[in-house]
């Protein structure tokens, strides 16, 4: 299983990368970690005349946790995020989601930018970005723009990125106060794509009422989803008054494109989806409760 031939470019700057993409149009593709793209090339499910490798662009690397938001360069590897003390403290949800990504050999090469741009609905990072209302920085020949996660994922494996765009960084807001974070995922085997998963971030006030709760869903649609109805039901609710099972059910109700395949029907995925939401809610709310 060998890929078709391509020309290889290793630009040193983002501007150079963008220019190459603009020059070669749909014949060119960004190469980030390669953990998703290269299998597709090897299987000849796709092919490009030009690969633009972002691996040599140092300005795309790095984790900056110096502000209220954490800015992570798109080419930062999942392994670097996994090791990062700053991420562990500032973005617990991202830190906890990372070990679910494949296997450590995958994470040594896979990047946050690649994961977001590939936009697999069953992947962890897109769901986390959506849950935390991340902002994605994109550079094009026209300049730089910022797109909120809620607008970034447009369909199955599709995003706001145009052919000549490079995703350069993602900014994830810190949550402060009495917070709890959890990811629950059900997969066939350790490291497989989720059949259904939930990412929960919750903040409680001093009396254990929900000040805000964000619930992200993976594997349950063509894109990652936010369970907005479940979130609405949780607003201002007292933690003890929450029926976790009901939250799970509410999270599933509005979903319209739950996948159905060899691993399970849509109904099965809803059943599992409700369970992972319930479990993630329990874990996150317990942590928030215990927080000072």
């Amino acid at each position: 299983m060998k890929p078709t031939a391509f020309d290889y470019h290793a630009p040193a700057t983002t501007a150079e990368a963008v220019s190459l993409l603009a020059q070669h149009g749909d014949g060119a593709k960004v190469l980030a970690g390669g953990q998703s793209l290269v299998p597709l090339l090897a299987l000849r499910l796709t092919s490009f005349d030009h690969l633009i490798d972002l691996g040599g662009i140092s300005e795309l690397q790095g984790i900056d946790a110096s502000n209220g938001s954490v800015r992570i360069g798109a080419m930062t590897t999942q392994a670097a995020i996994e090791r990062s003390v700053e991420v562990a403290s500032a973005l617990p949800l991202l830190a906890r989601a990372t070990p679910f990504i494949g296997h450590f050999q995958i994470r040594n090469r896979g990047t946050i930018g690649g994961s977001l741009a590939h936009a697999d609905p069953a992947a962890e990072y897109p769901a986390v970005a959506l849950t935390l209302d991340a902002e994605l920085e994109i550079v094009s020949p026209q300049g730089t723009r910022t797109v909120p996660a809620s607008q970034f994922f447009t369909g199955l494996w599709s995003t706001e990125l145009e052919e000549d765009n490079v995703l350069t960084a993602v900014k994830l807001p810190r949550w402060s106060g009495r917070c709890g974070f959890a990811i629950e995922e059900f997969a066939r085997r350790h490291g497989d794509f989720a059949i259904a998963g939930a990412t929960v971030a919750v903040e409680l006030d001093g009396d254990d009422h929900v000040r805000r709760c964000h619930i992200g869903l993976l594997g349950l649609g063509a894109t990652p989803e936010r369970a907005t109805e479940a979130e609405a039901a949780l607003m201002n609710a007292h933690v003890d008054a929450v029926d976790a099972g009901e939250i799970g059910r509410l999270a599933m109700e509005p979903l319209e494109s739950v996948p159905s395949d060899l691993h399970g029907s849509a109904d099965y995925r809803r059943r599992v989806g409700a369970a992972v939401v319930e479990r993630a809610w329990r874990t996150a709310s317990k942590e928030a409760r215990g927080a000072a």
Partner: protein
């Protein structure tokens, strides 16, 4: 389009002119004659092709050789002890029947070497999770798990 690449493989400089689509795995096997790195799937799941790229365990079937230009690669052949004998990890595999046909073995040895270097005393759960990215069809993983435990215990 051909490109010239130069990388260090097991401490030796290797220079070659290659097509960009040549995978690092094929570069090692065909251009360097290092056939210990095996192709079990060529789509990044089985782990038989695992090598160290700048010290990190990666699937060499998912890296193009041109991406390793200027980098350091360590293959299974580069893990033997300085006197040509077995490394501690290799010895642990041998003592615990961690291999049968040997096809997946280089990938496991490289992965385990990296794992234990970064986490010298993994829990049972961490061992299994750490091994989950390498597939074996002969051993049922029993000997492999025992080998990792033995190798980590030996570090004491």
């Amino acid at each position: 389009m051909q490109r010239e690449v130069e990388m260090t493989v097991n401490g030796t400089a290797r220079r070659n002119t290659i097509e960009p689509r040549l995978t690092l795995a094929d570069f090692l096997r065909e251009r360097c004659g290092l056939t210990g790195t095996h192709l079990g799937c060529e789509h990044g799941v089985c782990g038989a092709c695992t090598v160290l790229l700048d010290g990190e365990a990666v699937r060499s079937c998912l890296v193009f050789a041109v991406q390793a230009d200027g980098r350091e690669v360590t293959t299974i052949e580069g893990l033997s002890a300085p006197d040509g004998g077995l490394s501690q990890v290799q010895e642990a595999f041998r003592e615990n029947h961690g291999l049968q046909c040997g096809f997946c073995t280089p990938g496991f040895v490289v992965s385990v070497t990296a794992l234990l270097r970064d986490n010298p005393h993994p829990s049972d759960e961490q061992i299994r999770a750490g091994l989950s990215g390498n597939l074996c069809r002969c051993t049922g993983y029993q000997g492999i798990i025992a080998a990792v435990r033995a190798a980590s215990d030996a570090e004491h």
